[in-house]
């Protein structure tokens, strides 16, 4: 084994591990995964429920089973996984400052892949009114407390949100014998896809649609939440905890405090269709690219990214040059990723741009360059659902233009 690390991957979740495994398959000699937790596997480690692994292994696994399987595969093919290793600084040209149990160290791999995933936004970002008692947690904290520690912070919580992960919350609570007293959603419909929406009723958790959390009560521990309905009526729901589920955001501290460009819309690093960041030594993959996708999707992205990184190491990737800039220029369009399209790459790299909308949107998606309409397509979308637009629709341009995505309602 040479000293030179070819590729260092920050994060050992599904995307980081799949990238690492694929890099080894492509003949890359030294692939190192850096994971700050004592164990590798990422978020699935504490998702004690199915379904994981359908895309990858054609089997239905729980999160921990899935994570263990990925880790074992990676080790088997010769990926070096360094746990309890935090990347504290990511510097120009791929230089990384690591903190381990032995102190700090620097490494200078030839390429770095960011695979640091997403987390949920905490209470602070949501500007929720009230005192700050114990027992207000995100799903991530709840699941790791329950599945990894066999403990629970409360017994009768209220669940805020109806994203897919909010239903994982219900399963997690059932596993721990916790009885959620209500599930609250500000919008008129459940965010997650039907028929998941039926689920809370089936298991007996009252679902309150069109209801907003307006405050948390209790000074040391939670004693209740105040909610307000469509008509503006306030009422208090007694509970001993609050689960703030969903509202994901990329875990992108390293980039934000370092030199990489961060996109204001995805809140992840700015990338081109290879997942290449503003410093071309760095690539990004998996959920750090955008909130939020499934483990399977992130795994697939990791594998693709590995191919582009391997090509880059071999000198086969189109160099950074003239780029098309794609921006979400409409309040309805929440983000678009990638944000840059290398003209030299054309339709190599990612086949699709990924979009999300901020609200239920039925109408036309329009790509504009200045006043000119480049193309349009019908759009019928809901928040938190994947929208894919073929990259080739954009790369027809032969100049480094700026394309603005807009929405025209029906």
């Amino acid at each position: 084994m040479t000293d030179q690390i070819d590729v260092a991957i920050i994060g050992s979740g599904p995307s980081g591990l799949s990238a690492a495994i694929e890099l080894k398959a492509l003949g890359i000699a030294r692939v190192v995964v850096l994971e700050r937790d004592p164990e590798a596997g990422g978020i699935p480690r504490h998702c004690g429920h199915p379904p994981f692994g359908i895309r990858e292994f054609k089997r239905v696994l729980t999160g921990p089973q899935y994570a263990r399987k990925l880790v074992a595969m990676a080790r088997l093919v010769g990926v070096e996984i360094r746990t309890s290793t935090t990347v504290v600084e990511a510097r120009p040209d791929g230089k990384l400052l690591l903190a381990t149990k032995d102190g700090v160290a620097e490494i200078a791999p030839r390429r770095v892949i960011y695979a640091t995933g997403v987390r949920e936004t905490p209470r602070s970002c949501r500007f929720i009114t009230g005192p700050r008692p114990l027992g207000v947690v995100n799903t991530g904290a709840l699941q790791s407390t329950i599945y990894l520690q066999d403990r629970t912070p409360f017994e009768r919580p209220v669940i805020i949100g109806t994203e897919l992960v909010s239903f994982s919350v219900i399963m997690t609570c059932r596993y721990a014998g916790i009885k959620p007293v209500a599930m609250i959603e500000a919008n008129e419909g459940v965010t997650a896809r039907w028929p998941t929406g039926l689920f809370p009723r089936i298991v007996g958790v009252p679902l309150h649609l069109g209801t907003r959390l307006s405050g948390i009560l209790g000074n040391t521990s939670v004693t209740g939440v105040e909610v307000v309905d469509r008509a503006g009526n306030h009422r208090v729901i007694d509970c001993d905890g609050v689960i703030l589920s969903g509202q994901f955001t990329p875990e992108v501290a390293l980039a934000r405090c370092g030199h990489l460009a961060v996109d204001a819309a995805t809140k992840g690093p700015v990338v081109d269709q290879y997942g290449r960041c503003s410093d071309p030594c760095y690539f990004a993959t998996g959920n750090v690219l955008r909130p939020v996708e499934t483990a399977g999707w992130s795994w697939k992205e990791g594998r693709q990214t590995a191919r582009w990184v391997a090509a880059d190491l071999a000198g086969d990737l189109a160099p950074v040059g003239a780029e098309i800039e794609v921006v979400a220029a409409d309040p309805v369009i929440r983000y678009v990723v990638p944000q840059r399209l290398s003209l030299a790459a054309g339709s190599a790299g990612m086949k699709h741009l990924q979009l999300r909308v901020t609200r239920r949107a039925k109408g036309t998606l329009v790509a504009m360059c200045g006043d000119q309409i480049l193309w349009k397509m019908p759009l019928n979308a809901r928040p938190e659902r994947r929208i894919l637009v073929p990259v080739r629709k954009f790369t027809a341009a032969d100049k480094p233009i700026k394309i603005e995505l807009k929405f025209i309602a029906e």
Binding site: D102, R123, I128, T152, E251
Partner: protein, 470 residues
């Protein structure tokens, strides 16, 4: 005096009992201990710094805008001086950021001259007037709307918790005692001695110093039967921006102060974040420091007006603190020589800066009454935990165990240490103040689970309970 041994908390006859372990009480306990007095500090909460001192802007003020000739000014000046003398030995941080008191409109520009004059009168001779070009050159991220400013190079940033912890640790290492979860409820004075009634039993002492902060008037009422002032808590809410925002600002940006408040500040924190706040709203509750959506959004707008680049920065934390405000701006330091009692109340907006100075001031008062102690010839000097972002923190060293809090880079050994000793954290809030754990951008998303394990058996209210599987 007769002593009820059964209910007595300690057999010692203390020279001084300090009521309240806020920053003022901690500094008081240290000063009296160093001067040779036998000191007990009593605090009703399970962790120290649970009142007004739990949340502030953490600025070491110079006193440039304090009322001319006030006790407050004198204490701020002396306190700042002493902090600067001791901070290196005690390993306490000091970020000499300096401040600009910025005028955002013509009316404020017009008030700068008077303010500068006041600064000079107050002894801050290096305060100067600076213009728009200077501001732009030195703080390029500040909005163009900043018209002019007074530069106050002496304003600095410190750690709001390490400092009082270090003061109290020094007192304890040199013989003082601390009683936590110990609320003073009443007492009697006879024959030159106090019998203080507390929730844990009686304490005997010669002298009492009431540093009960937000409850200063209550304590005077309960024990003396009278109070010369009424506390009306004045709440201040804050927004903390992501660490990435800290690079947007070098100095502390202060507004032109009004009679009521020092106004909304923008500054870095010693922990490497960027802080905006506080608001100022009166309320009745003395313990409920809640935030509200409207105020936080208002702060957000104010922040973006001052530093437009903040529009793209995520929020890390929000919090609120309560100032122990009274009818007057001036501190309410009330000596009662006939009853061996000194009330140190109404330390509203500058207590962190002034605490060491207040302690000097009160000790001088006490000495005037004829108390004689031998100052400790060679007192022990404790070293504070290094929590400042720029300090030589534990995460850089080996042998400190796992990284528990990934956002604030807190190691397992730091947490274990904070859970031991006479000031062991008994609540998450206390643990935060001693280690920074969960105070970062994820607010516990990643580390809550490990914390339930590490803190098991240590907290009065546990973070989690074992699951009962059927």
């Amino acid at each position: 005096m007769m002593q009820d041994r059964r209910s007595s908390l300690s057999s010692t006859l203390f020279d001084v009992v300090v009521i309240g372990a806020g920053v003022v009480g901690c500094a008081m306990a240290r000063r009296f201990t160093l001067e040779g007095a036998r000191v007990a500090l009593v605090e009703k909460a399970c962790d120290i710094l649970d009142g007004a001192s739990k949340a502030n802007s953490a600025i070491l003020h110079t006193g440039f805008d304090a009322p001319v000739g006030s006790i407050e000014l004198d204490c701020i000046r002396k306190g700042g001086e002493e902090y600067r003398q001791i901070h290196q030995d005690m390993r306490l941080p000091l970020d000499a950021a300096g401040a600009y008191v910025v005028a955002w409109n013509d009316a404020e520009v017009a008030r700068l001259d008077t303010l500068l004059e006041q600064a000079h009168t107050n002894g801050i001779s290096n305060a100067t007037l600076v213009g728009q070009t200077f501001l732009r050159d030195n703080e390029p991220h500040l909005s163009d709307r900043a018209l002019a400013a007074i530069s106050v190079p002496g304003e600095a940033l410190i750690d709001p918790w390490s400092a009082p912890y270090a003061y109290l640790k020094q007192a304890l290492q040199n013989g003082a005692e601390v009683f936590l979860k110990c609320e003073v409820t009443g007492g009697g004075f006879a024959g030159g001695e106090w019998q203080l009634e507390t929730s844990r039993g009686v304490l005997n002492c010669r002298q009492v110093i009431n540093c009960a902060g937000l409850y200063g008037d209550y304590v005077d009422q309960a024990v003396l039967g009278q109070s010369d002032f009424l506390i009306t808590p004045r709440k201040g809410q804050f927004l903390i921006f992501d660490k990435a925002a800290a690079s947007l600002l070098q100095a502390i940006i202060l507004p032109v102060p009004t009679a009521r408040t020092k106004g909304v500040v923008v500054c870095r924190t010693i922990f490497g974040n960027l802080l905006v706040g506080p608001t100022a709203d009166e309320q009745q509750s003395r313990h409920e420091a809640s935030t509200d959506t409207v105020s936080l959004e208002g702060l957000m707008q104010a922040a973006i007006r001052m530093i437009p680049a903040l529009a793209d920065m995520p929020i890390t934390a929000t919090y609120a603190g309560l100032r122990p405000a009274t009818e007057q701006k001036e501190y309410r330091i009330i000596p009662r020589p006939d009853r061996n009692w000194i009330t140190v109340g109404g330390i509203r907006s500058t207590g962190l800066s002034a605490a060491l100075g207040i302690a000097q001031h009160v000790f001088a008062q006490y000495q005037d009454w004829g108390a004689a102690h031998e100052p400790l010839p060679d007192p022990k000097v404790p070293q504070a935990n290094i929590l400042a972002e720029q300090g030589a923190r534990a995460w850089r060293q080996g042998g400190q165990g796992d990284m528990i809090c990934h956002c604030e880079l807190v190691r397992e050994a730091e947490i274990r240490q904070a859970l031991t000793g006479p000031l062991a954290a008994r609540s998450l809030a206390g643990l935060k103040r001693q280690t920074r754990v969960t105070m970062g951008r994820c607010q516990g998303f990643y580390c809550s689970a490990r914390l339930t394990e590490l803190t098991d058996g240590h907290f009065d209210i546990p973070l989690a309970k074992d699951i009962k599987h059927d």
